[in-house]
Symmetry: C2
Subunit: 687 residues, 2 copies
């Protein structure tokens, strides 16, 4: 067993270290490396106002969603699985009734990651003092899980349920598909959260031993497997581990994993082909799926599984240098050419991934695809956050907000009982948009929980320059919250933001720092906003508005949020979508029963670019949202075509006005109010 690394400093001391280290430079025998602030480590400086839009959403997660998810994990068997007992789902053989996926991967191969994300989410909420009615139960569950995880670890540091219980000989034989390193990444993130929450090293030490196992077995040296994870995740977790351990070997290891990916060696063109050959696996799978077809720095087109792609980009963005340049290039391409208007990613259900070409973004299965996995949008948010930590950019911020408020946030029902994995832009046939209670592979639900748990970390970033007594504050999300910023020696500054976003464009800030300090403020100037005004002088800075403020100050930021009808790039689909501010709107059957009965799924219903809408409010499970209702005739319809019709002699298109006033609901709030469950987000352009 490898000797354990030096212990990380306790959390309090880390905070100080971070604050004292705002230069971001760590010196040592290796090249200087930027020390990042991660939202996961800073989130708890922020208290989100419970009586606000975002607060109400977080309350649903704290009070109900986490509990639902814990129950589902117990029911599924993943909770108990660390006891290393046999479970029927371990049988991957394509037997009648067996739980095997098309790719031969049993769902249980993801179990560590599901549990890990729940532990991580629970730690964040509990650290925030939330979920208080469940605290005893959650604490007990966390303790039991950590104990089971510790006991499941093998003497050599290996830690994986499936390959310990079912297939010990298969260990590390298939890094491409078998998720050993992916699971380790999520457990490591959970361990970091657990260490933060409890101050106990128990779980973190388990995971450091597990990382050391991989460092011994998988690496660049002779006798090691020159591989890398088929599903990235460990990489981004290792960067966060390094921020705690400051162990250069952890940093070197993630650099190895990132740089080795997609490399051809004299013995083989691709590591995944090589390990497949060693397994006598004759399938010559396309490794674009794993973003392993060429080195990251050479990739020009974002391809393959969307979640894998973005998790990889998070780590590449963190790595800096040419890896970050490549990550930004691929992120920009994804946003420009492969993103749904909701901030969803991945049009291809068959591999949960990107179409090869840009602008191929079908709305529904019946129109050629659509997937838009919740996790992909969360991972895109994570990627955007890394870029923004490096350099502010208004368009990247807008994407973070868009993906969060629409594609990601819609991944749970407001009653906390059901979740979505794919988030299709339109239903079709007998599909509905209703969410499901759980999934065999249930990566998305706890991923959304941990994202809500650390929301404060996404809200703003702060850097303290003690020498110049200056606090730099970059506001990324406009919401209602208070942040307490430690300035060292027990002194703090506070900033309180109150915002009507995402529905009203009025936001106020109260800044309070000790005398002699100043604030270097950056406020967002969103692309969707008009008539942006700030109560203090500002200068435009790459999509942000910069102001310097004295220690104590009040600032208000105001803008209008007109309805904007957005057009897609018409290369493959010429579609219009109603938006207002960062919110994307969708027509669903519950509000438009008569229209949906005549045109189920609103097929054949088009929109005019000159449509106007009236606003109304509705409160759903404590969350108040703005609905939009069109004027009569703003939507039009094609004469209902015969579904049994093939090609016909063309007649001039006749779009007839729809007399109905069409009511639209925010995308994230869809499928929460019953009805037939059919919907459509983007409409044909009605002439």
């Amino acid at each position: 067993m490898t000797a354990p690394p030096p212990p990380p400093p306790p959390p309090e001391q880390q905070d100080k270290m971070r604050q004292a280290d705002n230069s971001g430079i760590v010196t040592g025998s290796k090249p200087a490396t930027v020390s990042k602030q991660y939202p996961q480590s800073t989130f708890n400086e922020t208290k989100v106002d419970r009586d606000s839009f975002y607060g109400a959403i977080r309350t649903i997660f704290a009070d109900s969603v986490l509990k639902t998810q814990l129950e589902q994990l117990r029911k599924q068997g993943s909770y108990e699985a660390f006891k290393l007992q046999w479970h029927p789902s371990y049988d991957v053989r394509p037997l009648q009734g067996a739980k095997a996926r098309n790719d031969g991967i049993p769902p249980s191969l993801f179990w560590e990651s599901d549990v890990g994300k729940w532990v991580e989410a629970a730690c964040y909420f509990l650290m925030s003092g939330e979920a208080s009615s469940h605290k005893a139960e959650f604490d007990a569950a966390i303790t039991e899980l950590v104990n089971m995880i510790e006991s499941a670890q093998q003497p050599d540091g290996y830690l994986n349920i499936y390959f310990t219980v079912v297939d010990p000989a298969g260990r590390l034989k298939n890094l491409r598909d078998m998720h050993e390193m992916y699971n380790a990444g999520h457990l490591l993130e959970a361990a970091l959260a657990h260490y933060q929450y409890t101050g106990s090293r128990q779980f973190l030490d388990v995971m450091i031993r597990n990382v050391e196992f991989f460092m011994k077995e998988v690496g660049p040296n002779e006798g090691q497997i020159h591989g890398y994870p088929g599903h990235p995740e460990l990489e981004l977790a290792l960067f966060r581990l390094y921020a705690v351990t400051r162990d250069q070997r952890h940093l070197e290891y993630v650099r190895y994993l990132l740089n080795e990916r997609g490399v051809s060696r004299p013995e083989y063109d691709n590591f995944y082909h090589h390990e497949a050959k060693l397994r006598d696996d004759i399938l010559n799978n396309k490794v674009e799926y794993q973003q392993a077809h060429k080195p990251i720095v050479d990739q020009e087109n974002i391809l393959g599984h969307s979640v894998r792609a973005f998790y990889l980009l998070v780590a590449a963005a963190d790595a800096g240098g040419q890896l970050q340049v490549a990550a930004r290039r691929l992120f920009d391409q994804a946003v420009r050419g492969k993103m749904y208007v909701t901030g969803g990613f991945g049009s291809e259900p068959s591999f949960e991934g990107f179409h090869e070409y840009e602008h191929v973004l079908p709305q529904s299965t019946a129109e050629g695809g659509c997937y838009a996995e919740t996790c992909a949008s969360i991972a895109a948010m994570m990627t955007a956050e890394r870029f923004l930590a490096d350099k502010l950019d208004g368009s990247v911020r807008d994407t973070l907000e868009l993906a969060f408020l629409n594609a990601a946030l819609g991944g749970a029902s407001l009653d906390a009982k059901a979740f979505s994995y794919a988030n299709k832009m339109a239903t079709c046939c007998d599909e509905t948009a209703f969410r499901k209670e759980w999934f065999e592979v249930c990566c998305c639900p706890p991923n959304l929980s941990r994202t809500l748990g650390l929301l404060g970390g996404y809200t703003w970033s702060a850097n303290v320059d003690a020498d110049n007594k200056s606090i730099s504050l970059n506001v990324l999300l406009l919401l209602s919250a208070t942040r307490t910023i430690p300035l060292g020696d027990g002194v703090t500054a506070t900033v309180t933001m109150k915002s009507g976003m995402p529905f009203q464009g009025h936001t106020t800030f109260e800044f309070a720092a000790p005398e002699g300090w100043s604030w270097d403020l950056h406020l967002p100037s969103p692309g969707y906003a008009t008539d942006v005004t700030v109560s203090v002088p500002t200068t435009a800075d790459n999509g942000f508005l910069a102001a310097t403020l004295p220690a104590t100050a009040s600032v208000s930021l105001d803008f209008n949020l007109p309805v904007r009808i957005l057009a897609s790039n018409p290369a493959a689909h010429d579609l219009l979508t109603v938006t207002r501010g960062p919110i994307v709107y969708v027509a669903e059957s519950v509000d438009n029963v008569a229209l949906d009965e005549r045109f189920p799924h609103f097929e054949g219903v088009g929109l005019t670019t000159t449509a106007t809408f009236t606003e109304s409010e509705e409160t759903l499970e404590g969350v108040t949202v703005t609905l939009l209702t069109s004027a009569s005739g703003d939507f039009k319809h094609l004469d209902r075509w015969d579904l049994n019709q093939g090609y016909t002699v063309a007649k001039p298109a006749t779009w007839s006005p729809v007399e109905d006033k069409v009511t639209l609901v925010p995308w994230f709030a869809r499928a929460n109010r019953g009805g037939a469950g059919r919907l459509r987000t983007s409409f044909a352009r009605a002439a």
Copy 2:
């Protein structure tokens, strides 16, 4: 070794048997079975006029394409492969540079079928007295191949290059993927043609022994593998074998193969899952790809690989009863909902197959897909022919003609040097529409050759009622040809058809039968034709025009072929296509250089429903075709969008008139005249 079956009657006697058996009923201990006339057995009664459109095309195949293909088979190694020597392409491991496909199937696994189709095609042309300048070479090649094939057969009747040379232990272990039965089907079809051409039983006996091998190893009885071919083909070949051997066991065997497909047994849900388990193959592949997800009679949605689907339908149509009902239901669905306007099938390149949903028919890779394999359209023609042999139906005839004249015929360049496999409706990015010299899996080129070789068999069907001295003639394709119909006892009738089709709607017929005979004629009344007139009284009969004629008669059929702009079902794409008669027209860069330079691939170019066209003629490699040229302004264009543009605030769509007159060429003749090679078949509806 199983005892050989009773020898079939020699070809002359078969002809008599067929003529004497017009009742279609074969009696025996088994239920009565309709005895079909196959185009492969009747084609040689027809001589296609060399100085006609179809004759000119056949001349290209007879004089040049067959020779090109023979050279390519030699170059590829498939010709020599029956000598059972090692070949580098046999290595299926995913090694650098190795010839392995994504599915792990080496291209050489298809070699028997490629060679078989070439032998079959050469036999048809040689029987027709064509390819005379190559007769000696082709005869020698056929003889050498048949000798090699015979020598490659194993003592037990097994015949497969790969599993004899490379992997003897793999024999019959993977019926789903490994093409042993598929290859047998094509070789059996070749053997039937060879027997017809030479009168020698050499090849046919080899293949009967091979069929007997499968009958012994794969079947319903204890100790047998209860499987069926992953790629249908043997089934339809077995029906044709039965028509020669009249061996009820051959008929029973094909019925077993068809009825067992997709059946759940107590031991397993699906045979392919079962055999995968026996191979320790953990992949739980979707067997929709092989149309094996449920019994054929229960299938409601045509799914999976398009060529496999249609080959299966050919056999199911031949089987009659509920299998035929299911085949017709699936065929009708494919034509209505999953067919490109050219008669192409298969929108999904990733698995060369059908989209799950109807009307998802993207035009290009950049628009979401498009495949339209040449073989799929040939197989659709074959399916249509089986239905028409059973019952005339004008819409089925129209589909046969459409798929043949557009999707299939375009599979070879008119200079006989290059072939297409996928036939995409539009090019994109750096793609061109130019064909390729050969393919690693080259099923399509020789498939097209054999189709042209037996064209006379698709042209019309004849049934002789000797008792009533009546000749029933059903005309399926309008072209210039003469058919000599044996009436028994050496007496014949002739019918000569002269037609301007597919470009001019004037056709004449001269009927000459011995005195006392009459003709029961059915002429097509195509759906695309207007002002249809016949020079004799007719009655409408399900899309055909029926007339009774005396022994000697002249008939003329006339109709107009107006340009028709066809609209797709707008469920997924609202597109317009210019057609005239059975010919689909396409814009390609060579005729429209300036427009294609401004709008490469004609992206952003739309069409109005009121466009008018002028006609002109051009002769390409001896084939005269009609081109269409629009008036200025009939096509329109969107303001060129920024390819780097994501979502933008919508403005009213502005379609500006294209000043250029746009020239369109028949789809089959595309990519034959140089230029940039970009094209577009279907256009957005320009308001």
